[in-house]
Structure formats: structure tokens, C-alpha cells
Symmetry: C2
Subunit: 117 residues, 2 copies
């Protein structure tokens, strides 16, 4: 890290620094996006947005090994984005948060507009 930057617009930097959100929330937001930023996890989220599914069904649906799906579900669980319900030896997963759907909807809208424009 260098600190020898010639500050071109000191006032601007000061102004923006004052208005900037705190470091910690920004960090957490990007951690959330990092979880979304994998196509396997995105596909899992899309599927669970439609309906509750067990691990085996998910791996069939996504054409992936049970292990790979299970590993990703763990990440989603740790991020509190999905919740699980156990029925015998079958574990059913579903979305644990209402915001997720909204965020994905906006992202989809963005992608779709990009395609047109």
C-alpha cells in the first residue's frame, strides 16, 4: 500500500469520505454478494425460490453430485440464506429470507435490460 498519492481533489475526497457507509456493512454486503456470485448457488436459490426441495432432488435437478450440492448448501446455510427441515433421513431445504427473492428479481431485471439495450 502506498500513501504517496497526490490528492487531486482534497475537498471531494473529504466530502465522499464523510458520506461513505461504514466499512463493516460494506464488507458484509460484499460477503453476501460473494455467496450469490456462484452459479451453482444461484441455481439452488432459484430452485428453492420456486419450491422446497431435498438434497437429492436438487442434485438431480441441477445435474450435479450430491456432494457438490451438499457443500454449497452448507455455505448457504452458514450465510443464513436457506433453512433445513428434517423428515426421517431426508433433509428439505427452503429459502430463509424474503430479501433474497427481491435482490435476485432486481438483478434479473438488470440482466434483461442489458440484453435489450
Amino acid at each position: 500500500m502506498e500513501f504517496e498519492n497526490t490528492v487531486i481533489h482534497e475537498e471531494v475526497v473529504a466530502r465522499v469520505k464523510e458520506k461513505m457507509p461504514q466499512e463493516e456493512p460494506i464488507y458484509e454486503v460484499s460477503e453476501l454478494f460473494k455467496v450469490f456470485g456462484d452459479s451453482t448457488r444461484s441455481r439452488i436459490i432459484c430452485a428453492l425460490h420456486i419450491e422446497e426441495l431435498c438434497v437429492n432432488d436438487l442434485s438431480t435437478l441441477l445435474n450435479m453430485t450430491q456432494s457438490a450440492v451438499s457443500h454449497q448448501l452448507r455455505i448457504l446455510r452458514q450465510a443464513r440464506l436457506v433453512k433445513s427441515r428434517k423428515d426421517g433421513r431426508v433433509v428439505y431445504y427452503s429459502l430463509d429470507d424474503d430479501h433474497i427473492g427481491e435482490i435476485f428479481s432486481l438483478a434479473f431485471a438488470h440482466i434483461m435490460e442489458e440484453r435489450e439495450g
Copy 2:
């Protein structure tokens, strides 16, 4: 990849498969989130959401080398999330999309609610 999964709920899988968004948009959405999923890029986006900034000011503000910031700006440019304006040898960056702010606002709202609950 294994295809030897014992399908537990065939009808459910079939139903969800039918309702699932297409592969390609999901892939693009997760690519978008991947760009957001780095704290340096998130900080850049937050800063530019407040005000247009040049590279040098950004690196001062974020306490990072000019090179590191420049590399991340390239990624944001390629994703069409920021646009640049050249004035002499100074290059000013600003957000290139209205959706970005909304998506970040929702994500922040989510993070803040997580902190309370």
C-alpha cells in the same frame, strides 16, 4: 458428475424444472454478483454512488495503490457498471447503471435487519 441419483420426488423435480429460469440468465446474474462480491469493488461502487471520482482520489479514499484500484475499475468497466470521462490526463469514473444503487440498497437493508434480528 454423477447421474445415478435416486430421484425421490420425480413430480416435484419435473415441476421445478419447468418453472426454473433459463440457465443463461442465471449464469449472467451470478456473474454480476461475482463483480459485487469483492469488498474493494463494493467500496468503489459506494463511493461512486455518492459522487464522480478520479482514479487518484479513489485510491486515496480507499487507501489502496493506484494500480489495485485501476485493475478493479477495469473489471467494473467491462461489466458496464461504471463509465469513464477523460479530462486531460485525469479520468473520472461514475456509475453507469441505475439498478446498481437499488440492488445495493436492498442488500444493505438485508444486512441491517440481520444485525437486529
